[in-house]
Symmetry: C2
């Protein structure tokens, strides 16, 4: 047998993951061996011929932790779209139209983050809260302020969360309020360059647990020059990029009127798209847009709950999943109130169901919705884990040999929340669906990022 010198610890756990879109795997008493780098060194299903021997060796070396029955191991969740500074706004103002919501709530709030004493406790709470909800990888839209955004990156590093952090760029004086707008493109780009450098230089960030993300807010808030200059940096440094894409009728029409193009074309032409770009929302895509996103191997951050409030329509999730475009999920704090990616997964299913059924009782059943638009809970789980990781080009999201060990443990019992599992009735598929429907922060008992226990 191996001596397992390089093994940090091992787990024996009833394990869910979704290596293939549309399918899930359940491995009872799965053995996972985590090496000293925090990667998965090996896995053994309970029917593997070496299972008993490996297990015995691990026990002898005091390296095996056995999860209790009723606890389930699964990949950590991936949040592709979270506006960290909007955290105090989560759950209010949702009655407002998007424009009023931004002007009256969001921009004045985001502008306050230039005060680091204001920023620090809020950023600390939002990052901890996401982690406690099981989000091991988070893509953060911060604010236009560099220092506060670097603070956010540092806090993610300190906390041990895999994070993709962006200092927002927005310089179109016609669309941005005067108090919250970069008025000098050179200074803004210098700030962005310094931000990239400083995040990569964070102490302990040699393996890039925390990565800088180029972050043009969206087409209307940027000048064409800004988009092009940011695109150059994406290409030159091979950086992640995040932005909003065709989120609403207004955003789609703005692009058409000002550029004669779609958002996707504008981003592509500016050099902003690559194999790790996150296009949040992506509601009103044309067929050409979809082809272009696929050609660049860019990805979509689907934010279903926010879409119900602000997007004017439902994303074509069914068709996009079938097209092979990379898709993951986003909380879109605070366009939606919940920081839970389980909730996003649930809402992805329910919004797809509403799209299939339609809403208008005055129409006949056949006219009301879009046939076969539903997605399954298993597909939603895939988006929440492997799909999201794939968008980020991250080696996580699946619990298999060679991946970073980013994982969570879900526990169900009658003292916590509303998730109930009855072993007598519930198949593995049922258990997975119930977790997506009902797991909340208190059900997340353990969180590991890169093999490190980070739930404190």
């Amino acid at each position: 047998m191996h001596a397992f010198h390089d093994i940090q610890f091992a787990l024996q756990a009833d394990t869910f993951h979704a290596p293939v879109k549309g399918q899930f795997a359940f491995h009872p008493d799965f053995l996972l061996l985590i090496n000293i780098d925090g990667d998965i060194a090996a896995t053994y299903t309970s029917d593997h011929p070496h299972y008993a021997d490996v297990r015995q060796t691990l026990v002898a070396q005091d390296k095996l932790k056995v999860l209790e029955k009723g606890q389930y191991l699964m990949p950590g969740l991936v949040d592709l779209h979270c506006h960290a500074p909007q955290w105090p706004q989560a759950g209010k103002g949702l009655d407002l139209p998007l424009y009023d919501w931004l002007q009256n709530y969001t921009f004045p709030l985001e502008n306050r983050y230039q005060d680091l004493a204001f920023a620090a406790p809020i950023y600390q709470d939002v990052t901890r809260t996401l982690l406690a909800n099981g989000t091991t990888s988070a893509v953060y839209f911060a604010s236009i302020d560099r220092a506060a955004t670097e603070l956010l990156a540092q806090q993610c590093m300190d906390l041990g969360q895999r994070a993709y952090v962006g200092k927002i760029n927005m310089d179109n004086t016609e669309q941005c309020p005067p108090y919250y707008c970069e008025q000098n493109i050179t200074a803004a780009l210098d700030d962005t360059d310094a931000f990239i450098h400083n995040v990569l230089a964070i102490k302990g960030n040699e393996n890039r647990l925390v990565q800088p993300v180029i972050t043009p807010r969206f087409v209307p808030s940027c000048t064409p020059d800004m988009l092009n200059q940011l695109g150059k940096r994406v290409q030159q440094y091979d950086l992640h990029m995040q932005t909003h894409c065709s989120e609403s009728d207004w955003a789609r029409d703005y692009a058409k009127q000002h550029y004669g193009k779609t958002d996707v074309q504008i981003y592509a032409d500016a050099g902003l798209l690559n194999h790790k770009s996150v296009l949040a929302h992506s509601i009103f895509l044309t067929e050409e847009d979809v082809s272009m996103i696929k050609a660049y191997r860019a990805g979509i951050g689907h934010c279903p709950l926010s879409n119900m409030f602000f997007a004017n329509a439902a994303m074509q999730t069914r068709e996009l999943l079938d097209s092979g475009v990379q898709i993951g999920l986003g909380s879109d704090i605070a366009g939606a109130p919940s920081p839970s990616i389980f909730r996003a997964a649930f809402d992805a299913v329910s919004h797809s169901r509403v799209r299939e059924e339609g809403v208008d009782v005055r129409l006949s059943a056949g006219q009301r919705g879009t046939a076969n638009a539903r997605i399954s809970f298993v597909e939603a789980f895939w988006m929440a884990t492997a799909g999201g990781a794939s968008v980020l080009d991250a080696n996580t999201g699946i619990l298999e040999t060679g991946r970073h060990f980013d994982a969570i443990v879900i526990e169900a019992n009658t003292t916590i929340g509303n998730l109930r599992i009855w072993p007598e009735f519930d198949t593995p598929r049922d258990i997975l669906e119930k977790i997506i429907c009902l797991a909340q922060k208190e059900n997340v008992k353990r969180v590991w990022v890169q093999g490190k226990d980070v739930l404190r």
Copy 2:
């Protein structure tokens, strides 16, 4: 000053309630005096001329409990539609069409409740869980088994939950599975009569904390004779009645094809409607249906999350609220997975927004949805409290003199769930919206029913 001999205790609390549909009231440091019967004997806003004197007397008599800042008192929540025996099914099978869902999951499960040893722990957990989520009044659809349903009623009594409990009647052999169908109408009605008698005779139930409810499952599952016989009992004993009403295309068409009438007309003609009837769902109502529901002063149990999965369309909530029909909310466990009426309130808002915006990107913005269909969070809160109480003709739902004291305390802090309140940013309206969006079981710190502390 009064001696307050009849006062059991008093509270000083930052208090929300919604006495008027579409409005909310926030009373900081509201004083509520609860008498020995558990009713609200008096209230004082902090600007009342006697406030200081009353408060001083209460303190002197050691009768005043002062809630901490960051805790909010509000009326207990009302769940108008909960299938208690479906609790183990919450959060699974939602991918299925309604027919398969009923036949493969629900009916086999409900049928098992004839085994009281099976029923007892599940009923215990669901009633406790609803109470812990802040539901002080619950309307339960149980199963066709009388003994198990009496057990449920007894458990509600023991727990101190205000409950409206129904033994299901379903006798149409063409629609019900053979193993789960009342084959003898006389025996079924005798059972129903015995059930009514036995619930009213529960020890300690002199004030009818727990009430029997006439419960025809829905039109397809009952013979016309059954509906008529049940209607006679509603009229004769002035009983509550609950049923499903025009929940889906199929249900609506069934009524048309078999009776040439709508569900509402069928129920009215059978004598089933009165001033405390609960018509769950009520999606496909005609104008005549709405007039008839109003004429009988019957009410609607709106179950928005379940509707997203099973109703084929969105309820016309905006128009129904404007029409003055009585409406409250239902969890519809397990047609929806969450037992929280805060969640139902949130989903009522979001489904109304989806209805307003529409879902189909292929249509123009003007064609996509129904203009002005949205409802507000404040209206949803009214439905969750005063509206629901009004449907039941219960003297609860508003924290005013003369009402029964059914109330909850919501607490927000960073150690619990995801609800965050920043006094610096959040107006009372913001706080109320945040509670609706994010409060979960763990935020419910105190629950009183009829003045009794029932959260254990």
